[in-house]
């Protein structure tokens, strides 16, 4: 489960049938600088598109899962590899400063 910040949404006119009614988020992965607040902006990492059933909005911090586990919540096969699993309320991230 990786932390990320929602920076946009994606609408698809053409998509695989399994994705009918799906909602997609553009997520900026959060590294150490973003989690500690040193960099309130975007990280340098690439932006995955993440399937969303929880209703994340712009600027929300989320946890998303990549890989085969992303297809677990579905009872039918689906060509998906990134899904939003949590909207973060509060989080602390303070690595040792030594």
């Amino acid at each position: 489960m990786k932390p990320g910040r929602v920076i946009g949404t994606v609408t698809l006119s053409q998509a695989a049938p399994q994705f009918r009614g799906a909602r997609w988020l553009m997520v900026s992965p959060m590294g150490p600088a973003e989690l500690t607040g040193k960099n309130p902006g975007l990280s340098q990492q690439s932006t995955p598109v993440v399937y969303d059933k929880l209703g994340a909005g712009l600027g929300d911090e989320i946890l998303y899962v990549e890989g085969a586990e992303a297809t677990q919540p579905f009872d039918h096969p689906i060509p998906l590899d990134a899904i939003n699993v949590a909207l973060l309320d509060r989080y602390t991230y303070a690595p040792p400063t030594v």
Partner: protein, 86 residues
């Protein structure tokens, strides 16, 4: 298994049902010397590791599904054990 250090905690009211009641920790992968070695990630922690504790973490989703008793759970990282001395 990933060797990591617990650096933070997170709460999420709106989440996949299998996350409800689980402690979510933010971890940083570390090498054998304890130096940071990768991007931070979140994991489910059923054993209650303390801050800056060094732990090893499984990335096996099917194992975590047993812990959270939900076969539809997409969670994949779970704290498996506390490292006393590396």
């Amino acid at each position: 298994m990933l060797h990591a250090r617990i650096d933070g905690y997170a709460t999420a009211t709106i989440a996949h049902p299998s996350l409800r009641g689980q402690t979510i920790v933010l971890c940083t992968p570390v090498d054998d010397q304890g130096r940071d070695a990768g991007a931070p990630f979140a994991a489910v922690d059923p054993i209650g590791a303390g801050r800056h504790a060094r732990v090893f973490i499984t990335t096996d989703g099917s194992w975590t599904q047993n812990t959270v008793h939900d076969t539809t759970s997409p969670i994949r990282n779970q704290v498996m054990g506390l490292i006393d001395s590396p």
